[in-house]
Amino acid sequence: MPKSHEVNRRDFVMVVTALIGSVIGAVIGLPAIGYLIAPAFQAKKSEAWIPLGPLANYPEGVPTLFSFVRSKVNGWDKTANSYGIYVIRGPGDQVKAFSNICTHLICRVTWKDEDKEFHCPCHSGVFNVDGQVVSGPPPRPMDTYQVKVENGNISIFFQGA
């Protein structure tokens, strides 16, 4: 290349093409990233007190499943999600509420009354009546909900999924 301060035509065209190409790429490319990942950041929390009915419905010491459905808008569609809560009435008005979602990989656990344990069907996770891990892969105890007992009626504070 000759040593000259003048830019030759070929280089000029190359630089201008690269520049315009980069601008077009950025104008389309950067919004495109936002476009692709947008729904991940749109999930709204739906906090609510869910009434679980009177204390009398729940026998003492035996985890009893309460199921409810909450709908949520995902994109253009309303999705109905069902949730299960294991309610355990301790002595007196003491009430504990566990989510039936396994802390391993979110399968649903069930109470086996003959073993006095919660069993997860997916990877053999086992929890005891206090929600502690007995065996299997779950990394932490079962998730609990904040419980409120008013006039003999139980409610839990649900913060969405």
Partner: protein, 219 residues
Amino acid sequence: MYEKISTWLDERLGLRTIYSTVLDRKVPKVNWWFTLGSASLFLFVMQAVTGIMLTIYYVPSPDHAYDSIQYIMNGVTFGWLIRGIHHWGATLMVLVVFIHMLRTFFFGSYKFPRELTWLTGVVLLLATLGMGFTGYLLPWNQKAYWATTVGTSIAGTVPFLGGFIGKVLRGGSDLSAVTLARFFSVHIWWLPVVIGGAIGVHLYMVIRLGISNIPSEEE
């Protein structure tokens, strides 16, 4: 360093030969009208990219098509931009492809040895119009619905075969979910494959034969 890497790659891939054949080929002195083919190619690529992006959210069903587009326009970040580019790019592409054809015609570029380039160009023009026709139904709003009702009815006026053609286009006697699904399929699979293939043949001949001169008065 850069030189070493590019030589290593070139010994194995022959990229420099491809580059010089495709981009450094000799061209006669021509004018801006000769850029319309490249412009059409650019628009096709842009439509392909934005179209692929739109399929992330669009659902081709009467229950969801309209709502999913409302979501793209109002819910998704920059959804309005991606759909806007696709919408206006479609109109622009029909225009540019058509003017490209007029340039080829008026400059006599379709003559020997470029007859087959012209013929693949005809396929590309018709496929582009087909893209416009099938894409117009997808928003599933009133304008889309009635435009397709009219369009398929026009196809139905063909002598003897009209009724058959109209029914095949609609997938039945009514405009329905079946129509929407098949228009979507044709829009995102069948016609893009046809256009992509025809562009390959079209460009192969442009590179092999070179582009034509501007006709001069002496000829």
